[in-house]
Symmetry: C2
Subunit: 448 residues, 2 copies
């Protein structure tokens, strides 16, 4: 390349795929969209650019420094950093035109200008579902969100042989009640939650416990916290506290928030399938969750962390409207999960049973061009397949090389003989079989 040419590599933290990888990614994205749609969620699309005052109404701290923010004319603008804040604005703006409970999905790019590091993108797709209503919303919608996530992830892991996965469920009210009970102040609470959130990132459970103890300080509270982390859900029994700590939890009877959290968690678990479990170390960093929270882990790809998470929130639209909107939602980080899997060859088109190109039509000389174009138009009308045509003045061998590079399933060759006899020569590129035949039979072969 000459020195005066502009460097064409994409910016650090940004990503683009070659056509084969893009085909896979789009198929996964469409599959997620189909699952969301079939689960009764409706699509919305909001602008990528929002007024900064809208985006920053609730955000703050780390988020704010990560945002792509700029001035255009008199406007202070920003690129959306998630799909939740624009959704909150959308609900407030169109409140009178929506039917509640309102179930929406949105799949789109979001932008975070954070330090580039492995597994983090600055521009990436998120796929969100949320159910919102005014004032109150049945706990069953928490079940519905988690169920939809399970069905969606299931579809993908089955298709691409990604192995089993587990959804870990908790409820923020339990910890909130617990911290209230012992009058633990907010900064201590935040510190403790941060440690709990990182539980599985410690080398050993002992390391985690040492760290937790050093933060909590109080031996009694520390032991109770540890017991909470060992709570389980047992089918037909319910939430169970390990027996040896049972008496220590007498106080819960009088702790409304903890009682509610445990009841809600039990209710949610009662309606969920087997690949779910209660785990109180799930707290979700973001502080807008107020009830159920969940994260999802692929057993064979633990290093990805949670691939689908979410939870229950209150006061979604408080910055924008007097209406009290609450909801529950979940999100799949599709770029973060699937782009590495595609790039590492862990998922391939052979699982999809679809290819980039079904049929390549090769007219061999100018006389055959109109005949070949008519064929393409007819096949496009009768089949839902990808059909390409090339007009190359090249040796036949070169053209077959081209067909091979494109991974075409079938090649249809049109020469003077085919034109004269109103026939088509079709070669199956997988079996090598080749026959010359008429339109009726050609359609039969291609429809197989």
């Amino acid at each position: 390349m000459s020195k005066n040419k502009i460097n064409t590599s994409v910016l650090s933290g940004f990503v683009e795929l070659l056509p084969q990888g893009q085909f896979l990614f789009d198929n996964i994205k469409n599959l997620i969209e189909e699952q969301y749609k079939n689960a009764g969620f409706v699509a919305i699309d909001t602008p990528i650019i929002e007024k900064s005052e809208v985006l920053f109404a609730k955000a703050g701290g780390e988020t704010e420094t990560q945002v792509y923010r700029f001035q255009k004319g008199d406007n202070d603008l920003s690129l959306r950093f998630d799909l939740t804040v624009p959704f909150a604005r959308y609900v407030a703006e169109h409140y009178n035109d929506l039917t509640f409970p309102f179930k929406r999905y949105q799949i789109g790019k979001v932008f975070r200008g954070e330090r580039a590091q492995k597994g983090r993108y600055r521009e990436f797709f998120q796929a969100d579902i949320d159910i919102v209503a005014e004032n109150q919303l049945s706990i069953m919608y928490d079940v519905e969100i988690i169920n939809t996530m399970i069905n969606t992830i299931s579809k993908i892991t089955t298709l691409f042989n990604l192995g089993p996965f587990k959804v870990k469920v908790s409820n923020r009210k339990i910890w909130d009640g617990f911290f209230n009970e012992f009058q633990i102040n907010d900064s201590k609470k935040v510190e403790t939650m941060a440690i709990i959130d990182k539980r599985y990132k410690f080398k050993t459970e002992e390391d985690f416990e040492t760290e937790l103890k050093s933060i909590i300080n109080d031996e009694k509270i520390y032991k109770l916290a540890l017991s909470l982390l060992k709570i389980e859900f047992i089918k037909n029994v319910g939430i169970s506290i390990p027996a040896q700590h049972h008496n220590d939890f007498e106080f819960v009877k009088n702790n409304q928030l903890m009682k509610e959290g445990i009841e809600e968690l039990e209710e949610v678990m009662n309606h969920l399938p087997d690949n779910t479990e209660v785990d109180l170390s799930i707290v979700r960093g973001l502080n807008y969750y107020t009830g159920s929270v969940f994260e999802t882990f692929l057993t064979n790809y633990k290093n990805f962390g949670s691939i689908a998470s979410g939870g229950r929130y209150e006061h979604l639209c408080d910055y924008y409207t007097d209406k009290s909107i609450c909801g529950v939602g979940g999100s799949i980080g599709i770029s973060r999960l699937f782009i590495p899997l595609i790039e590492e060859g862990k998922i391939t088109t052979s699982d999809l049973n679809k290819t980039l190109l079904d049929i390549l039509i090769i007219p061999q000389n100018k006389n055959c061009y109109n005949y070949a174009i008519a064929l393409k138009n007819q096949l496009n009308t009768e089949l839902n397949k990808s059909i390409s045509i090339i007009f190359e003045d090249k040796k036949f061998k070169k053209l077959m090389e081209y067909a091979n590079k494109l991974n075409a399933n079938n090649v249809i060759i049109i020469g003077d003989d085919e034109l004269a006899n109103n026939t088509y020569t079709i070669k199956n590129m997988i079996t090598g079989e080749q026959i010359t035949t008429d339109m009726n039979n050609l359609l039969k072969i291609l429809n197989k």
Copy 2:
């Protein structure tokens, strides 16, 4: 609304749709994508944010002031203003991994911060197809691009009863050769082309001719230009210059560029269907076109201007690589065309034969929740339909109102009787028919 709430309206020049409109828009976008894919084009996706030096390599003048440009850290960044420049960068960057001729489509948002005015958006979708190759590319690919556009627009206009459309085709070489012939300088050339480009925006053809004459000045050249504008293509005859001017065009024999342009135009037209015509007033504002150019007009919606345009270009990637890449492409401005049609109610879901919600499941009390969830999971496995479920502690009438507001085709009611007898009550919301039946029969009814 309280005074201290943040204004949630989207920025001027930006747009978002209610779920029903979004459903229509997405269906149209998907239909275009399916047509592109079936015509043998493969998808790529490039970042929305690019380095400014990449985007501005070729752009300039008006474009540059319209771009959303900003600094983040040390980087001078911009939002893409079209899909062509990012495509040029992509081809240069991935040159060694692509197979040529390379046929790609890209559908995505682009951004132009121009003065907000009716019919102009600052954030909008474009749907592009291009075919590129190194050094040379058969004129037949110009046919292929226009043909794909015709098939795509045809599909949409038929589905939504938008009436007939016409593709107007020209070739830039004809005008380029003409201006060379009479040694018309560049600035005069640009002025003249600008007038010709606006031909149909003048009140009358006379107004246009007066304006054209005042720019060209020279009577002889003016008359020749006027004759060129009257050139037609006649099937089985070819390009025809009106007889009375025939002798004046003797000079074309020795004008290589004009000869080539006419031959190419004839060749392209020979392979196109009937709803195309030659019109030399099609010049396309952007100056990167070098051969075939085309625009597409809906007969009943002339005020939209061209809804699908494109043409042939050389030197696509010259700013990025030493390889000489040429190509031909076309673009549908889907936001500009379809958002107004949706908002004006000119296209509706009744044409689509699809609705936002197929089935709404209503469990009537808590005992039925698990039975209802199991039903939803089974229907989602067996049908490709959108199925929602609600858990509302409301009177039956209220729930049916909800079903009506969502335009559900079918409602399935689950009460104690259904649970006890392992049945389901299904109500067809269009016919009003209601029956209680078992799973087998339920599936038969829903599959109809």
